[in-house]
């Protein structure tokens, strides 16, 4: 926001007002931009705000947003000063998306790279089918989170809902609080030094200073579903 710039050399932000512009016009303006700081006003829960960005922009959204905010994000930094609907940062490729409030279901779904930070809670299916992005949640996450997650890290400072990491591949999950239940083939794993190290890095990157890596447990794949066991043929 202009006037509150942390860096006095930074250019003032340009405001784009969704009470004046359609989401299509807003996104077209952001897609044309190559850099700079942008403020999105009056989002009132509209869908697909700041989706498909592919430049080193800093975008701040002043309020609650609807579905698929910052979806497919590349390189840009997007901050939402409110809550998000379904699928925030869905398929994020790189860059950073930060949510000051809560996120609805499927936050960061199938993200390939970059960082999603949720200051509040995330609902069901957080990080479903994650493919390499990192997700840090200061609060708790809902059921079926990290379902079939293939790569990337999910850090949860609160609790995790039922069926965490069901059918997980090689993503790593760190939870500080209680886990309501683990999904098929997801197990608690030993915290080795390299895990404490990467967790410390992720917490620092997310700006979380009041959680210690040693307070977390690690969860991941038992790798029992990777190959078909002929003894299980009767189950199908």
């Amino acid at each position: 926001m202009s006037g509150a710039a942390p860096d006095s050399t930074a250019a003032p932000s340009r405001a784009l007002d969704l009470s004046q512009l359609s989401v299509r016009e807003l996104n077209a303006a952001l897609h044309e931009a190559e850099d700079g700081r942008w403020e999105v006003l009056d989002p009132v829960g509209k869908h697909a705000i700041a989706a498909g960005l592919d430049a080193e922009l800093e975008v701040e959204i002043a309020g609650n947003v609807g579905y698929y905010c910052a979806g497919m994000n590349k390189r840009a930094t997007v901050r939402v000063k409110g809550n998000c609907g379904v699928g925030v940062a869905e398929n994020i490729m790189s860059g950073k998306v930060a949510i000051e409030g809560d996120a609805s279901q499927a936050a960061g779904a199938s993200g390939h790279g970059g960082l999603l930070v949720i200051e509040g809670n995330a609902a069901a299916r957080c990080g479903i089918s994650l493919k390499g992005a990192d997700i840090v949640v200061r609060g708790s996450i809902g059921h079926m989170s990290a379902f079939m997650a293939q790569r990337g890290r999910i850090v949860v400072c609160g609790d995790a809902g039922a069926a965490l990491g069901d059918s997980i591949y090689e993503a790593r999950i760190y939870v500080r609080g209680e886990v309501a239940g683990l999904g098929a083939d997801c197990v608690a794993k030993e915290m080795r030094p390299e895990h404490l190290e990467e967790l410390a890095e992720l917490l620092a990157e997310a700006g979380i200073e009041d959680a210690q890596p040693s307070e977390f447990s690690r969860y991941g794949s038992a790798r029992r579903l990777y190959n078909f066991n002929v003894d299980d043929a009767g189950e199908y």
């Binding site: 009132v44 829960g45 609650n64 609807g66 809550n83 609907g85 069901a124 809902g142 059921h143």
Partner: protein, 314 residues
């Protein structure tokens, strides 16, 4: 659509739900306008049909209000005369072409049973002392204007915008569904076991007007409530007996309740401030309400019954 698809599962697969419960006099005065704004905002989720249940202007003790719908708009005068002769009419008001609100000097159960028996061509959208249900197979914007929703006052209201997937787009297939006197249901989702459940409920004496899965959910609640379950108990029974996806909002004379299935694929957002409590499928509908930006906003947990007002049902 063909009858095969009609019999097939799933309805209300997309759809929008809205609900508002007034906590202040100012909000009660403008309740219809608030419900209308939310409903129109949810038009993208359900352009095929729209409906509301609004709770207002209670009939005097011993009297009842019936919301009636008839395909034959020319026959209204005869129908009202027949009701007047049969049980009496205190006041009858045509609402649009196909709808009428009739106040009778007898209890709601008696009035409903009489119309059901004597006027089989007239559909009873709602019966009770307080509830009024209006619904039709028209767009939400058209609905709001045809029924002058924005001019209504009331204590609380539930609304629905329907995107029909597999059962017919008809006024009877629109929501809200009546689930008993002063009770109604709106549904977003789809049920898989509704055919078997419909057969079971028929054997329990519950009547059906459509092949719609949401009507089965409404009938299930009706049946449980008739058996003496509390509203919360009846809703908790859904978690056991209904197979499928749902966000339900149930209206009662005093308030409303919300339940999402344990998987919770179907969205719901709630918000509360000093003036109101509201639910909608998406936040953007809540954002139309005054004070929404500063309201407490949260997503209802899966499998948990939320209720406002005194929802205990006698």
């Amino acid at each position: 659509m063909g009858s095969r698809l009609d019999a097939c599962h799933a309805d209300a697969a997309m759809c929008g739900i809205v609900g508002i419960y007034a906590k202040s006099d100012a909000c009660e005065r403008h309740l219809g306008a608030h419900a209308a704004a939310m409903l129109v905002e949810m038009a993208d989720r359900g352009p095929d049909s729209a409906g509301v249940a609004i709770y207002r202007d209670p009939a005097p003790e011993g009297h009842s209000k019936l919301c009636l719908q008839s395909a034959d708009s020319a026959g209204w005068d005869d129908a009202v005369t027949a009701i007047d002769t049969g049980i009496g009419v205190v006041e009858a008001r045509r609402v649009g072409e196909r709808h009428a609100l009739v106040e009778t000097p007898v209890g709601a159960e008696e009035a409903r049973d009489w119309v059901e028996r004597e006027l089989p061509d007239v559909a009873i959208d709602s019966a009770g002392r307080i509830i009024e249900i209006y619904k039709d197979a028209i767009s939400p914007a058209e609905f709001v204007s045809r029924f002058s929703l924005a001019e209504m006052s009331g204590t609380h209201a539930l609304g629905h915008t329907r995107m029909a997937t597999e059962s017919r787009v008809t006024p009877a297939g629109s929501h809200p569904f009546s689930t008993g006197l002063d009770l109604c249901l709106v549904h977003n989702g789809s049920l898989s076991n509704h055919n078997r459940l419909r057969d079971e409920l028929r054997r329990e004496g519950i009547g059906f007007r459509t092949r719609n899965d949401s009507e089965v959910a409404a009938a299930y609640l009706t049946w449980r409530l008739r058996q003496g379950a509390t509203l919360e108990g009846a809703l908790e029974g859904c978690l056991e007996d209904l197979d499928g996806f749902y966000t339900f909002a149930v209206g009662t004379a005093e308030g409303f309740a919300v339940l999402r299935d344990p998987i919770s694929c179907k969205p719901a957002v709630m918000a509360e401030c000093d003036d109101w409590v509201a639910i909608a499928s998406e936040y953007r509908a809540l954002a139309t309400l005054p004070g929404a930006a500063d309201a407490e906003v949260w997503e209802p947990e899966p499998g948990v019954v939320y209720s406002w007002g005194t929802v205990a049902v006698a």
